[in-house]
Protein backbone atom coordinates (compact mmCIF):
# COMPACT_ATOMS: atom_id res chain seq x y z
CA UNK A 1 0.00 0.00 0.00
CA UNK A 2 1.34 3.38 -0.95
CA UNK A 3 1.45 5.95 1.84
CA UNK A 4 -1.31 8.42 1.18
CA UNK A 5 -0.21 12.01 1.02
CA UNK A 6 -2.86 14.55 1.96
CA UNK A 7 -3.60 16.81 -0.98
CA UNK A 8 -5.32 20.10 -0.21
CA UNK A 9 -6.40 20.98 -3.73
CA UNK A 10 -5.99 18.02 -6.06
CA UNK A 11 -6.45 18.72 -9.75
CA UNK A 12 -8.55 16.51 -11.99
CA UNK A 13 -5.50 14.59 -13.24
CA UNK A 14 -4.18 14.07 -9.73
CA UNK A 15 -7.53 12.70 -8.60
CA UNK A 16 -7.65 10.25 -11.49
CA UNK A 17 -4.08 9.11 -10.86
CA UNK A 18 -4.57 8.80 -7.11
CA UNK A 19 -7.80 6.85 -7.40
CA UNK A 20 -6.32 4.55 -10.06
CA UNK A 21 -3.30 3.95 -7.86
CA UNK A 22 -5.09 3.23 -4.61
CA UNK A 23 -8.26 1.52 -5.80
CA UNK A 24 -6.98 -0.13 -8.97
CA UNK A 25 -9.84 -1.92 -10.71
CA UNK A 26 -12.48 -1.35 -8.06
CA UNK A 27 -13.19 2.19 -9.24
CA UNK A 28 -13.85 3.14 -12.85
CA UNK A 29 -13.27 6.69 -14.01
CA UNK A 30 -15.89 7.12 -16.70
CA UNK A 31 -14.97 10.54 -18.00
CA UNK A 32 -13.54 13.86 -16.90
CA UNK A 33 -14.37 17.43 -17.73
CA UNK A 34 -13.30 20.89 -16.62
CA UNK A 35 -13.23 20.61 -12.82
CA UNK A 36 -15.38 17.49 -13.07
CA UNK A 37 -14.58 13.81 -12.48
CA UNK A 38 -17.22 11.14 -13.12
CA UNK A 39 -16.54 7.72 -11.65
CA UNK A 40 -18.40 4.65 -10.59
CA UNK A 41 -17.59 1.91 -8.13
CA UNK A 42 -18.84 -1.30 -6.58
CA UNK A 43 -21.19 -1.33 -3.66
CA UNK A 44 -18.66 -2.65 -1.12
CA UNK A 45 -16.02 -0.07 -2.07
CA UNK A 46 -18.09 3.05 -1.59
CA UNK A 47 -17.41 3.55 2.10
CA UNK A 48 -13.64 3.24 1.80
CA UNK A 49 -13.67 5.38 -1.35
CA UNK A 50 -15.61 8.13 0.41
CA UNK A 51 -13.28 7.95 3.39
CA UNK A 52 -10.37 8.28 0.99
CA UNK A 53 -12.02 11.21 -0.79
CA UNK A 54 -12.64 12.96 2.50
CA UNK A 55 -9.39 12.24 4.24
CA UNK A 56 -6.81 12.22 1.46
CA UNK A 57 -8.19 14.21 -1.42
CA UNK A 58 -9.82 16.79 0.87
CA UNK A 59 -13.36 16.65 -0.43
CA UNK A 60 -14.77 18.37 2.61
CA UNK A 61 -18.38 18.36 1.58
CA UNK A 62 -20.90 15.92 0.22
CA UNK A 63 -23.01 18.19 -1.93
CA UNK A 64 -25.74 15.71 -2.50
CA UNK A 65 -26.64 12.05 -2.29
CA UNK A 66 -29.45 11.00 -4.56
CA UNK A 67 -31.03 7.95 -6.07
CA UNK A 68 -32.07 6.93 -9.55
CA UNK A 69 -34.47 4.10 -10.35
CA UNK A 70 -33.29 2.38 -13.53
CA UNK A 71 -36.16 -0.14 -13.26
CA UNK A 72 -33.79 -3.13 -13.56
CA UNK A 73 -31.56 -1.81 -10.80
CA UNK A 74 -31.25 1.14 -8.43
CA UNK A 75 -28.42 3.61 -8.40
CA UNK A 76 -27.03 5.95 -5.75
CA UNK A 77 -25.27 9.10 -6.94
CA UNK A 78 -22.84 11.04 -4.79
CA UNK A 79 -21.62 14.54 -5.58
CA UNK A 80 -18.58 15.62 -3.62
CA UNK A 81 -17.00 19.04 -3.75
CA UNK A 82 -13.66 20.49 -2.83
CA UNK A 83 -13.55 23.95 -1.32
CA UNK A 84 -10.08 24.85 -2.53
CA UNK A 85 -10.33 24.56 -6.29
CA UNK A 86 -13.99 23.92 -7.07
CA UNK A 87 -13.49 20.37 -8.37
CA UNK A 88 -16.55 18.15 -8.16
CA UNK A 89 -16.59 14.38 -8.20
CA UNK A 90 -19.60 12.30 -9.14
CA UNK A 91 -19.67 8.71 -7.92
CA UNK A 92 -22.38 6.34 -9.06
CA UNK A 93 -23.00 3.03 -7.37
CA UNK A 94 -25.33 0.40 -8.80
CA UNK A 95 -27.30 -1.74 -6.38
CA UNK A 96 -29.68 -4.57 -7.17
CA UNK A 97 -33.42 -4.22 -6.75
CA UNK A 98 -33.84 -7.20 -4.46
CA UNK A 99 -31.14 -6.20 -2.00
CA UNK A 100 -31.19 -2.38 -1.73
CA UNK A 101 -28.48 -2.02 0.89
CA UNK A 102 -25.48 0.29 0.83
CA UNK A 103 -23.04 1.60 3.42
CA UNK A 104 -23.92 4.98 4.87
CA UNK A 105 -21.52 7.91 4.56
CA UNK A 106 -23.40 10.03 7.10
CA UNK A 107 -20.64 9.52 9.66
CA UNK A 108 -18.03 10.84 7.24
CA UNK A 109 -19.99 13.89 6.14
CA UNK A 110 -22.70 14.97 8.49
CA UNK A 111 -24.25 16.92 5.62
CA UNK A 112 -25.08 13.63 3.89
CA UNK A 113 -27.33 12.62 6.78
CA UNK A 114 -30.56 14.13 5.53
CA UNK A 115 -29.79 13.33 1.90
CA UNK A 116 -29.59 9.66 2.80
CA UNK A 117 -32.79 9.83 4.80
CA UNK A 118 -34.50 11.42 1.82
CA UNK A 119 -33.14 8.81 -0.60
CA UNK A 120 -34.29 6.08 1.76
CA UNK A 121 -37.85 7.33 1.95
CA UNK A 122 -38.19 8.14 -1.74
CA UNK A 123 -36.44 5.10 -3.23
CA UNK A 124 -36.34 2.55 -0.44
CA UNK A 125 -32.56 2.30 -0.49
CA UNK A 126 -31.37 1.28 2.96
CA UNK A 127 -28.18 2.90 4.21
CA UNK A 128 -26.44 0.59 6.65
CA UNK A 129 -24.91 2.32 9.64
CA UNK A 130 -26.98 5.47 9.33
CA UNK A 131 -27.60 6.99 12.79
CA UNK A 132 -31.30 7.65 12.26
CA UNK A 133 -32.87 6.24 9.13
CA UNK A 134 -36.42 7.54 9.31
CA UNK A 135 -38.80 9.17 6.91
CA UNK A 136 -38.16 12.89 6.63
CA UNK A 137 -40.39 14.55 4.05
CA UNK A 138 -43.28 12.10 3.86
CA UNK A 139 -45.41 10.97 6.81
CA UNK A 140 -44.00 8.23 9.01
CA UNK A 141 -46.78 5.78 8.17
CA UNK A 142 -46.09 5.66 4.42
CA UNK A 143 -45.19 2.18 3.27
CA UNK A 144 -44.39 2.87 -0.38
CA UNK A 145 -41.50 4.65 -2.05
CA UNK A 146 -42.99 7.38 -4.23
CA UNK A 147 -40.04 8.16 -6.51
CA UNK A 148 -39.68 4.63 -7.86
CA UNK A 149 -40.83 4.23 -11.43
CA UNK A 150 -43.31 1.59 -10.28
CA UNK A 151 -45.20 4.33 -8.43
CA UNK A 152 -47.28 5.95 -11.15
CA UNK A 153 -48.64 9.46 -11.07
CA UNK A 154 -52.15 10.01 -12.32
CA UNK A 155 -50.91 11.42 -15.63
CA UNK A 156 -48.48 8.60 -16.20
CA UNK A 157 -50.93 5.74 -16.22
Amino acid sequence: MVVNIFMEAPSVEEIVVAVKRDFDHKVTVKRTGVRRVYMSCERDTIHSLCKYMHGVLNFEQASSVGGVDWVDHLQVVYHLSNYFNGVMVEITVDIPNDDPHIDSVALIWEGADWHERETYELFGIIFDGHPKLERLLTPQNYEFFPFRKSYKLRGQE
Binding site: R35, E60, Q61, A62, S63, S64, G66, V68, D69, V77, H79, S81, Y83, F84, N85, G86, M88, E90, T92, W109, E110, G111, A112, D113, W114, H115, E118, L136, L137, T138, P139, P146, F147, Y151, L153, G155, Q156
Partner: protein, 362 residues
Protein backbone atom coordinates in the same frame (compact mmCIF):
# COMPACT_ATOMS: atom_id res chain seq x y z
CA UNK B 1 -36.35 20.05 31.16
CA UNK B 2 -39.11 20.27 28.63
CA UNK B 3 -39.53 19.78 24.92
CA UNK B 4 -40.88 22.86 23.19
CA UNK B 5 -42.27 22.34 19.71
CA UNK B 6 -41.63 25.57 17.87
CA UNK B 7 -43.64 25.39 14.71
CA UNK B 8 -44.93 24.60 12.17
CA UNK B 9 -46.74 27.91 12.54
CA UNK B 10 -44.48 30.05 14.62
CA UNK B 11 -43.33 33.62 14.05
CA UNK B 12 -39.66 32.70 13.84
CA UNK B 13 -39.94 29.84 11.35
CA UNK B 14 -40.59 31.90 8.16
CA UNK B 15 -42.32 28.96 6.56
CA UNK B 16 -43.76 25.66 7.60
CA UNK B 17 -41.26 23.73 9.61
CA UNK B 18 -40.80 22.72 13.18
CA UNK B 19 -37.87 23.03 15.49
CA UNK B 20 -38.26 20.81 18.51
CA UNK B 21 -36.02 22.07 21.27
CA UNK B 22 -35.34 20.58 24.66
CA UNK B 23 -34.95 23.43 27.09
CA UNK B 24 -33.46 23.41 30.57
CA UNK B 25 -34.97 26.66 31.79
CA UNK B 26 -33.99 28.93 28.96
CA UNK B 27 -30.87 27.01 27.92
CA UNK B 28 -31.29 24.62 25.01
CA UNK B 29 -29.72 21.21 25.45
CA UNK B 30 -31.04 19.42 22.39
CA UNK B 31 -32.85 20.23 19.18
CA UNK B 32 -34.40 18.41 16.26
CA UNK B 33 -35.62 20.11 13.08
CA UNK B 34 -38.64 18.57 11.35
CA UNK B 35 -39.49 19.44 7.76
CA UNK B 36 -41.72 18.02 5.08
CA UNK B 37 -44.87 20.07 5.51
CA UNK B 38 -44.44 21.51 2.02
CA UNK B 39 -43.31 18.36 0.23
CA UNK B 40 -45.15 18.22 -3.08
CA UNK B 41 -43.07 15.74 -5.04
CA UNK B 42 -41.47 18.35 -7.25
CA UNK B 43 -38.91 15.98 -8.72
CA UNK B 44 -41.50 13.37 -9.55
CA UNK B 45 -43.74 16.01 -11.14
CA UNK B 46 -40.89 17.00 -13.44
CA UNK B 47 -40.66 13.48 -14.84
CA UNK B 48 -44.11 14.09 -16.24
CA UNK B 49 -43.40 17.36 -18.03
CA UNK B 50 -41.49 18.39 -21.11
CA UNK B 51 -38.28 20.35 -20.64
CA UNK B 52 -39.57 23.91 -21.30
CA UNK B 53 -42.53 23.37 -18.98
CA UNK B 54 -40.23 22.83 -16.01
CA UNK B 55 -38.85 26.40 -16.10
CA UNK B 56 -41.89 28.05 -14.44
CA UNK B 57 -41.97 25.15 -11.97
CA UNK B 58 -38.36 25.82 -11.04
CA UNK B 59 -39.41 29.39 -10.25
CA UNK B 60 -41.73 28.03 -7.60
CA UNK B 61 -38.96 26.28 -5.70
CA UNK B 62 -38.20 29.43 -3.78
CA UNK B 63 -40.22 32.60 -4.00
CA UNK B 64 -37.32 34.97 -3.52
CA UNK B 65 -34.70 33.09 -5.54
CA UNK B 66 -36.81 32.15 -8.55
CA UNK B 67 -34.31 33.54 -11.05
CA UNK B 68 -31.41 31.41 -9.86
CA UNK B 69 -33.48 28.24 -9.66
CA UNK B 70 -34.73 28.64 -13.22
CA UNK B 71 -31.15 29.45 -14.17
CA UNK B 72 -29.68 26.29 -12.67
CA UNK B 73 -32.33 24.21 -14.38
CA UNK B 74 -31.61 25.79 -17.77
CA UNK B 75 -27.92 25.36 -17.12
CA UNK B 76 -28.14 21.62 -16.57
CA UNK B 77 -30.28 21.12 -19.67
CA UNK B 78 -27.87 23.23 -21.72
CA UNK B 79 -25.00 21.07 -20.50
CA UNK B 80 -26.91 17.97 -21.47
CA UNK B 81 -27.61 19.33 -24.96
CA UNK B 82 -24.09 20.70 -25.17
CA UNK B 83 -24.59 24.29 -26.29
CA UNK B 84 -22.77 27.48 -25.43
CA UNK B 85 -24.71 30.66 -24.72
CA UNK B 86 -24.01 33.94 -26.45
CA UNK B 87 -22.24 36.61 -24.44
CA UNK B 88 -25.31 38.79 -24.39
CA UNK B 89 -27.47 36.07 -22.88
CA UNK B 90 -24.80 35.34 -20.29
CA UNK B 91 -24.55 38.93 -19.08
CA UNK B 92 -28.30 39.29 -19.05
CA UNK B 93 -28.45 36.25 -16.81
CA UNK B 94 -25.76 37.75 -14.59
CA UNK B 95 -27.74 40.96 -14.20
CA UNK B 96 -30.96 39.07 -13.50
CA UNK B 97 -29.24 36.76 -11.01
CA UNK B 98 -27.68 39.61 -9.10
CA UNK B 99 -30.96 41.54 -8.93
CA UNK B 100 -32.48 38.36 -7.57
CA UNK B 101 -29.64 37.98 -5.06
CA UNK B 102 -30.02 41.51 -3.76
CA UNK B 103 -33.79 41.27 -3.36
CA UNK B 104 -33.46 37.87 -1.69
CA UNK B 105 -30.88 39.20 0.76
CA UNK B 106 -33.11 42.20 1.45
CA UNK B 107 -35.96 39.83 2.22
CA UNK B 108 -33.62 38.04 4.62
CA UNK B 109 -32.61 41.32 6.24
CA UNK B 110 -36.25 42.26 6.69
CA UNK B 111 -37.06 38.93 8.32
CA UNK B 112 -33.96 39.23 10.47
CA UNK B 113 -35.25 42.58 11.75
CA UNK B 114 -38.54 41.14 12.92
CA UNK B 115 -36.75 38.16 14.44
CA UNK B 116 -34.84 40.55 16.64
CA UNK B 117 -37.92 42.66 17.37
CA UNK B 118 -37.11 45.68 15.23
CA UNK B 119 -39.82 46.44 12.70
CA UNK B 120 -37.98 49.44 11.28
CA UNK B 121 -35.33 47.22 9.70
CA UNK B 122 -38.14 45.13 8.23
CA UNK B 123 -39.92 48.03 6.59
CA UNK B 124 -36.82 49.82 5.40
CA UNK B 125 -35.42 46.68 3.82
CA UNK B 126 -38.72 45.92 2.10
CA UNK B 127 -38.84 49.50 0.87
CA UNK B 128 -35.48 49.04 -0.84
CA UNK B 129 -36.56 45.63 -2.14
CA UNK B 130 -39.47 47.18 -4.01
CA UNK B 131 -37.09 48.97 -6.37
CA UNK B 132 -35.47 45.70 -7.35
CA UNK B 133 -38.83 44.04 -7.81
CA UNK B 134 -39.72 46.92 -10.11
CA UNK B 135 -36.59 46.13 -12.09
CA UNK B 136 -37.81 42.55 -12.29
CA UNK B 137 -41.12 43.80 -13.65
CA UNK B 138 -39.35 45.85 -16.29
CA UNK B 139 -37.11 42.98 -17.32
CA UNK B 140 -39.47 39.99 -17.11
CA UNK B 141 -42.95 41.31 -16.43
CA UNK B 142 -43.20 39.62 -13.05
CA UNK B 143 -42.20 40.57 -9.55
CA UNK B 144 -41.32 37.24 -7.97
CA UNK B 145 -41.84 34.22 -10.20
CA UNK B 146 -39.97 35.68 -13.11
CA UNK B 147 -39.86 32.83 -15.68
CA UNK B 148 -37.02 34.66 -17.42
CA UNK B 149 -34.23 32.18 -18.35
CA UNK B 150 -34.83 29.88 -21.26
CA UNK B 151 -32.99 26.78 -22.38
CA UNK B 152 -30.43 28.36 -24.69
CA UNK B 153 -30.59 31.91 -23.43
CA UNK B 154 -33.11 34.28 -21.92
CA UNK B 155 -36.64 35.14 -22.90
CA UNK B 156 -36.12 38.70 -24.06
CA UNK B 157 -33.49 41.37 -24.37
CA UNK B 158 -33.44 44.36 -22.05
CA UNK B 159 -36.33 46.75 -22.59
CA UNK B 160 -35.67 50.38 -23.44
CA UNK B 161 -34.17 52.45 -20.62
CA UNK B 162 -33.65 49.35 -18.49
CA UNK B 163 -29.96 50.09 -18.23
CA UNK B 164 -30.60 53.64 -17.06
CA UNK B 165 -33.18 52.51 -14.48
CA UNK B 166 -31.03 49.65 -13.26
CA UNK B 167 -27.98 51.83 -12.70
CA UNK B 168 -30.13 54.42 -10.96
CA UNK B 169 -31.60 51.86 -8.58
CA UNK B 170 -28.18 50.38 -7.83
CA UNK B 171 -26.66 53.77 -7.21
CA UNK B 172 -29.48 54.69 -4.88
CA UNK B 173 -29.34 51.36 -3.11
CA UNK B 174 -25.64 51.62 -2.32
CA UNK B 175 -26.47 54.71 -0.28
CA UNK B 176 -29.71 53.42 1.20
CA UNK B 177 -28.10 50.23 2.49
CA UNK B 178 -25.87 52.33 4.71
CA UNK B 179 -29.00 53.78 6.24
CA UNK B 180 -30.16 50.31 7.25
CA UNK B 181 -26.68 49.42 8.49
CA UNK B 182 -27.02 52.42 10.79
CA UNK B 183 -29.84 50.57 12.49
CA UNK B 184 -27.92 47.32 12.82
CA UNK B 185 -24.17 47.67 13.04
CA UNK B 186 -24.32 50.88 15.02
CA UNK B 187 -26.76 49.54 17.59
CA UNK B 188 -25.16 48.03 20.68
CA UNK B 189 -28.23 45.90 21.33
CA UNK B 190 -28.13 44.42 17.83
CA UNK B 191 -24.46 43.57 18.17
CA UNK B 192 -24.93 42.02 21.59
CA UNK B 193 -27.77 39.90 20.23
CA UNK B 194 -25.80 38.69 17.20
CA UNK B 195 -22.28 38.21 18.47
CA UNK B 196 -21.11 34.91 19.90
CA UNK B 197 -24.23 32.84 19.21
CA UNK B 198 -24.70 29.95 16.81
CA UNK B 199 -20.98 29.43 16.42
CA UNK B 200 -19.74 26.94 13.82
CA UNK B 201 -16.09 26.31 13.11
CA UNK B 202 -14.69 26.24 9.58
CA UNK B 203 -14.24 22.45 9.66
CA UNK B 204 -17.74 21.78 10.93
CA UNK B 205 -19.29 24.15 8.41
CA UNK B 206 -17.77 22.13 5.60
CA UNK B 207 -18.70 18.83 7.18
CA UNK B 208 -22.32 19.78 7.91
CA UNK B 209 -22.67 20.75 4.29
CA UNK B 210 -23.37 24.43 4.85
CA UNK B 211 -23.07 26.43 1.65
CA UNK B 212 -23.38 29.98 0.52
CA UNK B 213 -23.31 32.93 2.91
CA UNK B 214 -23.83 30.64 5.91
CA UNK B 215 -20.60 28.86 5.03
CA UNK B 216 -18.62 31.96 4.09
CA UNK B 217 -19.60 33.47 7.43
CA UNK B 218 -17.68 30.60 9.03
CA UNK B 219 -14.48 31.46 7.19
CA UNK B 220 -14.65 29.12 4.18
CA UNK B 221 -13.38 31.12 1.23
CA UNK B 222 -15.43 29.51 -1.51
CA UNK B 223 -17.86 30.95 -4.01
CA UNK B 224 -19.04 29.01 -7.02
CA UNK B 225 -19.20 32.20 -9.04
CA UNK B 226 -15.44 32.56 -8.62
CA UNK B 227 -14.15 29.03 -8.08
CA UNK B 228 -16.35 27.18 -10.57
CA UNK B 229 -17.25 30.08 -12.84
CA UNK B 230 -20.23 30.19 -15.15
CA UNK B 231 -21.79 32.94 -17.25
CA UNK B 232 -18.56 34.93 -17.53
CA UNK B 233 -18.46 35.72 -13.82
CA UNK B 234 -14.69 35.23 -14.03
CA UNK B 235 -14.40 38.14 -16.48
CA UNK B 236 -15.88 40.56 -13.96
CA UNK B 237 -13.89 42.16 -11.17
CA UNK B 238 -15.42 41.54 -7.77
CA UNK B 239 -14.55 40.01 -4.41
CA UNK B 240 -15.94 37.11 -2.43
CA UNK B 241 -17.32 38.22 0.92
CA UNK B 242 -15.83 36.12 3.70
CA UNK B 243 -16.00 36.56 7.45
CA UNK B 244 -14.02 34.49 9.92
CA UNK B 245 -16.31 35.07 12.91
CA UNK B 246 -18.39 31.92 12.45
CA UNK B 247 -21.28 33.21 14.56
CA UNK B 248 -24.58 34.77 13.56
CA UNK B 249 -22.91 38.14 13.18
CA UNK B 250 -20.41 36.72 10.69
CA UNK B 251 -23.20 35.38 8.52
CA UNK B 252 -24.96 38.73 8.73
CA UNK B 253 -21.75 40.50 7.71
CA UNK B 254 -21.26 38.27 4.69
CA UNK B 255 -24.75 38.89 3.35
CA UNK B 256 -24.46 42.65 3.72
CA UNK B 257 -21.11 42.62 1.94
CA UNK B 258 -22.55 40.40 -0.79
CA UNK B 259 -25.21 42.99 -1.53
CA UNK B 260 -22.52 45.59 -2.15
CA UNK B 261 -20.60 43.17 -4.35
CA UNK B 262 -23.75 42.36 -6.32
CA UNK B 263 -24.18 46.06 -7.03
CA UNK B 264 -20.61 46.09 -8.31
CA UNK B 265 -21.30 43.07 -10.55
CA UNK B 266 -24.47 44.63 -11.97
CA UNK B 267 -22.62 47.80 -12.87
CA UNK B 268 -19.83 45.92 -14.62
CA UNK B 269 -22.19 43.55 -16.42
CA UNK B 270 -24.16 46.55 -17.65
CA UNK B 271 -20.97 48.08 -19.01
CA UNK B 272 -20.12 44.80 -20.76
CA UNK B 273 -23.61 44.59 -22.22
CA UNK B 274 -23.17 48.01 -23.74
CA UNK B 275 -20.08 46.85 -25.60
CA UNK B 276 -21.92 43.87 -27.11
CA UNK B 277 -23.94 44.76 -30.24
CA UNK B 278 -27.67 44.58 -29.84
CA UNK B 279 -27.88 42.22 -32.79
CA UNK B 280 -26.21 39.50 -30.77
CA UNK B 281 -28.94 36.90 -30.18
CA UNK B 282 -30.17 36.41 -26.64
CA UNK B 283 -31.51 32.97 -27.31
CA UNK B 284 -30.36 29.96 -29.34
CA UNK B 285 -32.74 27.45 -30.80
CA UNK B 286 -32.44 24.11 -29.05
CA UNK B 287 -33.73 20.67 -30.05
CA UNK B 288 -36.87 19.40 -28.41
CA UNK B 289 -35.30 16.19 -27.19
CA UNK B 290 -32.29 16.03 -24.93
CA UNK B 291 -29.69 13.38 -25.80
CA UNK B 292 -29.28 10.44 -23.48
CA UNK B 293 -26.89 10.89 -20.56
CA UNK B 294 -26.46 12.14 -17.01
CA UNK B 295 -25.37 15.64 -16.20
CA UNK B 296 -25.24 17.97 -13.26
CA UNK B 297 -24.82 21.70 -12.90
CA UNK B 298 -24.47 23.94 -9.92
CA UNK B 299 -24.47 27.65 -9.26
CA UNK B 300 -24.46 30.12 -6.42
CA UNK B 301 -27.96 30.65 -5.14
CA UNK B 302 -28.59 33.51 -2.68
CA UNK B 303 -28.84 30.81 -0.01
CA UNK B 304 -25.99 28.58 -1.07
CA UNK B 305 -25.06 25.99 -3.62
CA UNK B 306 -27.98 24.87 -5.74
CA UNK B 307 -27.31 21.77 -7.79
CA UNK B 308 -29.45 19.87 -10.24
CA UNK B 309 -28.73 16.36 -11.46
CA UNK B 310 -30.41 15.42 -14.71
CA UNK B 311 -30.83 11.92 -16.11
CA UNK B 312 -32.21 12.07 -19.62
CA UNK B 313 -33.31 9.10 -21.71
CA UNK B 314 -33.42 10.79 -25.10
CA UNK B 315 -37.07 11.84 -24.96
CA UNK B 316 -38.52 15.29 -24.38
CA UNK B 317 -39.09 14.60 -20.69
CA UNK B 318 -36.42 14.12 -18.03
CA UNK B 319 -36.01 10.60 -16.70
CA UNK B 320 -35.00 11.92 -13.30
CA UNK B 321 -34.27 15.40 -12.03
CA UNK B 322 -32.64 15.61 -8.63
CA UNK B 323 -32.52 18.93 -6.80
CA UNK B 324 -29.91 19.69 -4.20
CA UNK B 325 -31.35 22.50 -2.16
CA UNK B 326 -29.02 24.59 0.03
CA UNK B 327 -31.60 25.16 2.75
CA UNK B 328 -32.35 21.45 3.01
CA UNK B 329 -28.78 20.90 4.20
CA UNK B 330 -28.39 24.16 6.13
CA UNK B 331 -31.44 23.46 8.25
CA UNK B 332 -30.12 20.03 9.15
CA UNK B 333 -27.23 21.83 10.82
CA UNK B 334 -29.68 23.78 13.00
CA UNK B 335 -29.45 21.24 15.80
CA UNK B 336 -25.73 21.88 16.14
CA UNK B 337 -26.10 25.64 16.03
CA UNK B 338 -28.71 26.05 18.72
CA UNK B 339 -27.21 23.77 21.34
CA UNK B 340 -26.20 25.71 24.44
CA UNK B 341 -27.84 28.99 23.53
CA UNK B 342 -31.00 30.48 25.02
CA UNK B 343 -34.52 30.27 23.67
CA UNK B 344 -34.29 33.95 22.78
CA UNK B 345 -31.33 33.25 20.51
CA UNK B 346 -33.17 30.79 18.28
CA UNK B 347 -34.76 33.44 16.03
CA UNK B 348 -31.44 35.24 15.73
CA UNK B 349 -29.60 32.07 14.71
CA UNK B 350 -32.28 30.66 12.45
CA UNK B 351 -32.71 34.09 10.91
CA UNK B 352 -29.14 33.98 9.66
CA UNK B 353 -29.85 30.69 7.88
CA UNK B 354 -32.38 32.51 5.67
CA UNK B 355 -35.05 29.84 5.58
CA UNK B 356 -37.03 29.08 2.47
CA UNK B 357 -39.10 25.94 2.80
CA UNK B 358 -40.27 25.72 -0.79
CA UNK B 359 -36.90 24.52 -1.91
CA UNK B 360 -36.10 22.47 1.19
CA UNK B 361 -39.21 20.31 1.02
CA UNK B 362 -39.59 20.41 -2.77
Amino acid sequence: MMWITMGPQHPFSHGLWTLKVKADGEIIVDAEPVIGYLHRGWEKECENRTYPLIIPMADRLCYSASMTWAHVYCKVVEEAIGIELTDRAMYLRVVADEICRIQSHLMWLAAMGTDLGNLTIFLWALREREFFLDLNVKLCGQRLTTNYPRIGGVRNDMPYYFERDCLRVVKRFEKALWEIIGLTDESAIFLSRMRGIGFISRKDAANYGLTGPSMRGCGVDFDIRRDDPYCNYDLLDWEVAVCNDGDAYGRYKVRIEEMFQSCEIIKQAMAKLESIPKTDPTRIKVPRNVPEGTHFARLEDPRGESLMYLVSDGTDKPYRLKVRSPIFVNVSAAKHMVKGVRVADIPAIMGTIDMCLGEADR
